[in-house]
Symmetry: none
Subunit: 220 residues, 4 copies
C-alpha cells in the first residue's frame, strides 16, 4: 500500500520477517483458542504463548477480533489448500475423485479437529464482514466436492438432483468427524468413518448400473 513492491532485498527481508512473526502469532493464538475458546484467551496469554510482548500483537493485527478472524481464515485456508492436491492424485474418474476429496477432507479435519470446531464456535464473535468472509471461504472449500459431483453427473455416473446439497452434505459429514467426535469415536476409527459415510452417500447418488463397478467403495 505505502511502498511499491520493489526488489529491494532489505524490503524483502523485512517482509519475510513480518510474515514469520505473523505466523508465529497466529499459531500461538490458534493453539490457545482451539483449546479454550477465543473468549477465554487473553491477548496477554497469546503474547506469552508466542513469546512476545502484548504490544507487538497490535503491530500485526488490529485487535482481538482481527486476530480471531485471521486464525479462522488460516484454518479454512489450510483446509482449502490440502484437499485439491489429494483430488488430483486420485486420477480422472469422478467417483474416485469424489471419494478422494471426501477422504482428504476428513483427514485434514482429523489432523486439526479442534481447529475445525473453532469455526463453528467462534464465528458468531466476528463482525458482519468477518462472518461473510468465513462463509465465502467455506463455500470455496467445498468446491472440489462440488466439482467431482458435477463431473460425475456429466459422465452419467451420478444421479444427483441437487449437487450443491450433496456437496454440502459431504462437507458437513466431514466436519461432523470433528463436531461429533465424542460420539463417533466410540464405535469407529477415522478410516471406518470415511468408508461408511462414503458408502452411504454413493449408494444414494450412484446410478444403479454403476454399483457393481464401484463395489469396493460400497462395501462395508
Amino acid at each position: 500500500m505505502t511502498s511499491a513492491p520493489t526488489r529491494d532485498p532489505a524490503d524483502a527481508a523485512k517482509r519475510a520477517r513480518a510474515e514469520h512473526r505473523s505466523t508465529q502469532l497466529l499459531e500461538a493464538a490458534a493453539r490457545l483458542m482451539e483449546r479454550d475458546g477465543s473468549h477465554a484467551v487473553s491477548m496477554q496469554a497469546v503474547a506469552a504463548e508466542a513469546g512476545v510482548s502484548v504490544g507487538l500483537i497490535y503491530r500485526y493485527f488490529g485487535g482481538k477480533d482481527d486476530l480471531l478472524l485471521a486464525v479462522i481464515v488460516g484454518v479454512l485456508d489450510s483446509f482449502a489448500t490440502q484437499v485439491p492436491a489429494a483430488v488430483e492424485a486420485a486420477g480422472e474418474d469422478p467417483v474416485h475423485r469424489l471419494a478422494a476429496a471426501f477422504r482428504s477432507f476428513c483427514e485434514v479435519i482429523d489432523e486439526r479437529r479442534h481447529a475445525a470446531v473453532l469455526t463453528y464456535r467462534e464465528t458468531k464473535s466476528l463482525d458482519e464482514a468477518g462472518r461473510a468472509r468465513i462463509m465465502e471461504l467455506e463455500v470455496q472449500t467445498s468446491e472440489p466436492l462440488r466439482q467431482a459431483l458435477r463431473d460425475g453427473v456429466d459422465a452419467g455416473l451420478f444421479d444427483a438432483p441437487d449437487i450443491d446439497l450433496a456437496a454440502y452434505d459431504l462437507l458437513l459429514l466431514a466436519h461432523a468427524w470433528a463436531l461429533k467426535h465424542w460420539y463417533f469415536e466410540r464405535s469407529q476409527s477415522l478410516d471406518t468413518y470415511v468408508q461408511r459415510q462414503l458408502a452411504l452417500i454413493l449408494k444414494a447418488i450412484l446410478v444403479p448400473g454403476q454399483r457393481k463397478a464401484y463395489a469396493e467403495l460400497l462395501a462395508h
Copy 2:
C-alpha cells in the same frame, strides 16, 4: 419438613410462581444468548431483558454457567418432546415414521434456529458435567430416528449396515438447516430441504425392491 408438600395450597402457589419466574428468566437468557452468544450477554443484560434485578437470577440459577446450561437443556428438552409426538402420528410404517421424525426434527429446528446453534457454539463454556449432560441429551434426542431405522431393518425395508451412523447423519442434516441456513436458504425452502435430504438418505438405505413403494418420498 413442615408439611406434605403437595397438600399445602400456599406451597403449591409458591412453586407455581417460582416455576413462572424460572421460565421467564430462561426465556430472556435464551433470547439474548441465541442472538449474541453467551459470552456477549451479561447477567445485567439478562436481568434487564427479564425485567428483574440481577440478584434475583441468582435465586433461581447458580450462576452464569448454570443459566447457560439450563438454556441449552431447555432447548434440547423441547426437541425431545416434540419429535416423538410427530412420529406417533405417522402410523406404523417404519419408512413413514423415519420420514416423519426427520421432518419433525427439521421443523422444530426451524422454529428455533438460533437456539439449535447454541449447542454447537456454547457447549465449550460448560464444565465437564454440563457437557456430559448435553451429549447424553443429544443422543436421547436422536433416539426416534434410530428406532425407526431399527424397525425398518427388522422389517426388511432398510439396508443400513450402521444404524447409529445413519441416525446421527439424519440428526446432523436436521441441525444443518440451522447451522448452514445462510447457505441453504439461497436455494430452497424448509419443505424442499426436508424432501431432498430425505430422498437422498432413503435412496441410500432403502432396499432396491422397495424403491417403487416409496416413490413419492424419493421424488424430487
Copy 3:
C-alpha cells in the same frame, strides 16, 4: 417505653417469647461470627442457622451492626456474670480471691475461646457508641480483679504501685489464653497456664514477707 410494665400475663408471655427469640438469634449469630468473622456471615446465614426468616431478625435487631454489638455485649456480659460468683466462693483472703478471680476468668474464656477473640477482632466494625459500650463493659469485667488487688494492698499483702495496671495485665493474660492459644497449647494445659501466670504475677506483687504463706500458689 411505650406501655407501663403491667402485670398483664399476656404481656409477660409476649415478653418471654421475645426474650427467647432474641437469645435464639444471638446464639446463632455468635456461633457463626465466632467461627467465620462477622464480615463473612450474612444475615441470610444467621437466619438459616437460627431457623427463622431474614425479616424476623430485623424485628429484634436494628441491623447487622446492631446484631454484632449485641453478640459482643452478650459475650462480655456472660464473662461479667460468671467471675464474681467464683470470687465469692473463694473466701475472705484477698490473695485467694485474686487467684480465684483470675482462674475463673481463664476458665470462662477457655469455654468460649472464640467468643473472647471476637471482641478483639470485630470491635472495629462497630460505631463509636458501640465501641464505647464495649470498652466500658471490659473495664467492668476487670473489676473483681481490681477489687481483690485493692483489698490485698489494704491488708498489707500486696505491694502493687499501680493497681489498675496490674488488674488489666491479669485481664490481658486471661484473654491471652484465647488470643495466643495456638502458641500456649503447645506446651501447657489450661491448668498449668493459670498456675504459672498466677505464680508469676504473685511473685511480682506479694510483699516479700508473705511469700511463705502462699508458697503453694508460687510453686511451679
Copy 4:
C-alpha cells in the same frame, strides 16, 4: 532467561521501580486497613489512595488476600528488624538487654499502634498458609526477649521457670500498649507504661539477691 539479572542495568532499574511501586501500594493499603479494617477497604479505595488504577494492584499482588498478608508481614518484619538493634546497643547485661528489648518493642509498637492491632484483627481473613506465616513471624519477633531471659537465667540473675511464657507475656504487654491504648492512655505515658510493666515483671523474675543491683529498674 535472556541475561544475568544482576548485570543488566535496565533490568536493575526495572526492579527498583517495581520495588518502589510495591512499597507505595503496601503503604497505601496499610494506611487504609489500619484505619478502617481490611473488610471495609475496597481495592478501588487502595488504588485511589495510592494514586494508581485498580488493575495495577493486581500486577504486584495476587489479590486482596495477598495484599493483606503483605501488609501484615511488612508490619511484623519492621518489628523484627528494629528490636534486635536496640538490644545490641544495650550492652552485655541480660537484665538491661531484656529491658531494652521490651522498651524497644513498646516504642516500635507506639509508632505504629494501628498496624500492631492489625495482626489481632485481620489474621482471621487470611488463609491457613497466611495465618501460619504470621504466627511463625510473631514467634520470631519475640526471640530477643526469649534470648535475654535465657541469658539471665544462665547468669543466675533470673528465676524464671517458664521462659517461653515470660517472653510471650512481655510480648503481649507490649502489644497491649496498642490493644488497650484507650485504657492506658488515661493514666500514663508510654514511658511510664514501659517502666511500670518492666518493674512488675522484673520483680517477678529477678532472683531476690539481685533486686538491689537493679533498683532503678524496679523503682516506680
